[in-house]
């Protein structure tokens, strides 16, 4: 590790939460393009969420992900997350023990919270005996189902149905209660509200085996972005940078929250309430986004902008660099209960300024509110398993040779 100077050297990052869309939605992303985008963004390991078609709910499908994933020269290593319930329908448990044996690194019905508390309890018990963590997307659908953005003064102004913070916090509280009861490892993903962070902080103080992650976009952007702001949470709003309101690239679930929530996420990182930064990379074909705001798909393509976003917060003094690097490396490894793979190395240029363009992304998903914006900081070189290979993959060359 070298954290001083313009070029920093750090272990390869691990992303607990990315949507690589294959099988089923290859117009949005494939395992190959997703793994390539991950490496481009500094993630040498990426956990692929199972909301594919079909959902990854059988051992054969888990093995299929491993066999389809590109080799380590072409991109990040891909670790499949299997679904908690069959078809992610929330009614019957998938064969969790066999899925773990086949190589599923965790279980999640991400996108669909497991609504039935009894079933979720069973999932926690089973995952525990399978030696895997359950990654839950906490959301009370009866409160949030019609919402398309954070409920607050901005949604009131824009006339858009809101998703209240309470919809997330109710689910976080339920899930923590079940983790306490079962003693099973629970991981809450993409927490976005100050109240959620408080609940996890208290649960950890009580010794409950819960961990959580936050996304780079929730660390950097507020609900004002839906109204057209393009100022990061740590910046003074700049009218010249304003975008168009109702840009569907700002539509994401959980939604971009209020400024106080963003501050609370950083505070959680600093006091280690937050264990990991995960991208929730959600690429979409343009046909899913180039529609009315309320009709658009949720999600931001995030693998390739994570580094400059989190470095922005570090530069603003909102968290030490070492804390953020830990949340991208040892933090997620600990969440999964494994060692960080040895030999993955990154060099990051913390000062280079670059502009987000469709061509700058390896991901097929160009859906980001950062499009056209200038960012500071980028992965310069990334190498996987240096012990096995001479030299890392030169990312800059890979771009020019595309």
């Amino acid at each position: 590790m070298k954290l001083e100077g313009r070029y920093i050297e750090v272990p390869g990052f691990m992303d607990l939460h990315a949507h690589l869309r294959e099988p089923g939605f290859e117009e949005s992303e494939t395992l190959a393009t997703g793994a390539h985008a991950a490496l481009h963004g500094g993630f040498t390991t990426v956990c692929a969420m199972p909301n594919t078609d079909p959902a990854i709910d059988t051992p054969a499908l888990v093995k299929e992900i491993y066999s389809r994933a590109p080799g380590w020269a072409e991109g990040a290593r891909v670790w499949p997350v299997a679904s908690i319930t069959r078809g992610r329908k929330g009614t019957e448990l998938a064969d969790l023990v066999e899925l773990a044996e086949a190589g599923a690194v965790a279980f999640s019905d991400d996108g669909n919270p497991v609504d039935d508390a009894h079933l979720f309890r069973s999932a926690l018990e089973y995952a525990r005996s399978a030696g895997r963590v359950v990654i839950e997307h906490p959301q009370d659908l009866s409160l949030s189902a019609r919402g398309v953005m954070h409920e607050g003064s901005v949604s009131a102004r824009l006339g858009l149905p809101g998703m209240p913070a309470a919809a997330e916090e109710i689910a976080v509280a339920r899930d923590i209660a079940l983790a306490k009861m079962t003693g099973a490892r629970l991981h809450l993903t993409h927490l976005s509200t100050a109240g959620s962070i408080d609940l996890v902080r208290r649960a950890k103080a009580d010794g409950i085996p819960v961990t959580c992650d936050v996304t780079p976009h929730h660390l950097a952007m507020t609900d004002e972005w839906v109204a057209g702001s393009r100022a990061f949470a740590w910046e003074v709003p700049d009218e010249a940078l304003r975008g168009v309101p109702y840009d569907s690239s700002t539509k994401v679930n959980p939604p971009l929250r209020a400024h106080t929530d963003v501050r609370a996420l950083w505070a959680g990182l600093v006091d280690r309430t937050v264990d990991a930064i995960a991208t929730d990379h959600a690429p979409h074909a343009s046909t899913k986004k180039d529609v009315e705001f309320d009709q658009a798909a949720f999600g931001i393509s995030g693998l390739e902008t994570a580094v400059p976003l989190v470095l922005g917060g570090v530069r603003a003094g909102w968290a030490p660099l070492a804390t953020v690097i830990a949340a991208l490396t040892t933090g997620p490894a600990r969440v999964l209960g494994i060692e960080l793979p040895e030999g993955d190395r990154l060099t990051i240029d913390t000062e280079v300024e670059w502009v987000v363009t469709p061509e700058a992304f390896f991901s097929l998903g160009k859906n980001t509110p950062l499009m056209g914006r200038s960012l500071i900081g980028r992965v310069d070189t990334a190498g996987i398993g240096l012990t096995k290979r001479q030299g890392g993959l030169r990312v800059a060359e890979a771009i020019s040779g595309r």
Binding site: E151, V244, F293, Q295
Partner: protein, 319 residues
């Protein structure tokens, strides 16, 4: 003042000068509408496309009359309300609009923000004729015109808006148009139908919330009742229409709490007997018919400013 706006999507960032420019222009249009032949030439050769993706006979007809009174060619596009359900995407429609080459697109759409989507992707001037819960700028402007006509200067006048503010583009546009003119606004209605952030103190400046309609109306200078959608009851936001009517309906007794002669307005269509008593709707204080007439003039004013001003001679000189 010089008119610089290309589109009318929302009045939330309009200055008092801009609003007054429209209101002054509206007065000139009223004069045209009072002539034996209600037609002036400034938009001759211009095409106005009415794109209503959500049904609305009143607003569409009002725009159509406005465009024709200024001698524009008017054409209608009807499209499905929801791109996903009905197969035709808004993007497709925008490309069609662009190819048709209209000068002004007047659009109504069920999705908040849809006019921004269209304005970004077409060369035509876009007028928002109502988008989702977001904005209905011509309604806000015609309400401002009607109120000024009745009350004079709106500085420090207190206007009550009662009803389903949460789902109301009319309420939002009334707030955005009346505040720059110096009015103060009191919102009233069931707590479930007022945005939570607004009830919890994050209200725009000069706007207050008073759940008790009687208190809200005491000494007020005017009241605007909003239409109550019957489906609010089914979605768990209201116990019953009967209770709503008793607690938040505008009755003659309630209207009498306002300053003497204070007017009553409603954007229409009304649910008489629910949000407004028939005796009030058709009583001497009602300006509801004036709103309809003024609506045509406001729309003429905007069409003129967007498509005629700068390139055409002023309306007074050519008429």
């Amino acid at each position: 003042m010089k008119w610089n706006r290309r589109h009318v999507l929302d009045t939330d960032d309009w200055s008092r000068d801009e609003i007054e420019t429209v209101l002054d222009q509206t007065r000139a249009m009223i004069e045209i509408l009072q002539r034996p032949i209600r037609r002036a030439p400034p938009l001759r050769g211009r095409t106005v496309i009415l794109f209503f993706a959500e049904s609305s006979t009143r607003t569409r007809v009002s725009f159509e009359l406005a465009a024709k009174a200024l001698s524009a060619d008017v054409t209608n596009i009807t499209a499905s309300g929801s791109s996903v359900d009905k197969g035709e995407s808004l993007y497709d429609t925008v490309r069609t609009l662009q190819a048709l080459g209209g000068d002004v697109v007047v659009m109504r759409h069920a999705s908040s923000g849809a006019p921004y989507f269209v304005a970004e992707r077409t060369d035509a001037a876009v007028i928002n004729a109502g988008d989702g819960w977001h904005a209905h700028p011509t309604q806000g402007l015609l309400d401002a015109y009607t109120l000024r006509d009745a009350l004079g200067d709106l500085e420090e006048k207190r206007i009550v808006i009662v009803g389903d503010v949460l789902h109301s583009r009319v309420a939002r546009s009334d707030i955005n148009t009346l505040l720059p003119l110096g009015a103060r606004i009191t919102l009233s209605g069931p707590p479930t139908l007022i945005p939570t952030a607004w009830r919890c103190g994050q209200l725009p400046h000069s706007v207050t919330y008073e759940s008790d309609l009687d208190l809200a109306l005491d000494g007020a200078d005017a009241v605007i009742a909003l239409r109550l959608q019957r489906e609010r009851q089914a979605s768990g936001l209201l116990p019953s229409l009967r209770e709503y009517s008793r607690v938040w309906g505008l009755t003659a007794e309630r209207v009498a709490r306002m300053r003497s002669g204070a007017p009553v307005m409603h954007p229409g269509p009304m649910n008489e007997g629910i949000e407004i008593d028939p005796a009030v709707a058709h009583g001497t204080r009602s300006l509801i018919e004036a709103q309809v007439t003024n609506g045509v003039a406001v729309r003429m004013a905007l069409l003129y400013l967007l498509a005629g001003a700068g390139t055409a001679t002023p309306v007074e000189e050519r008429a």
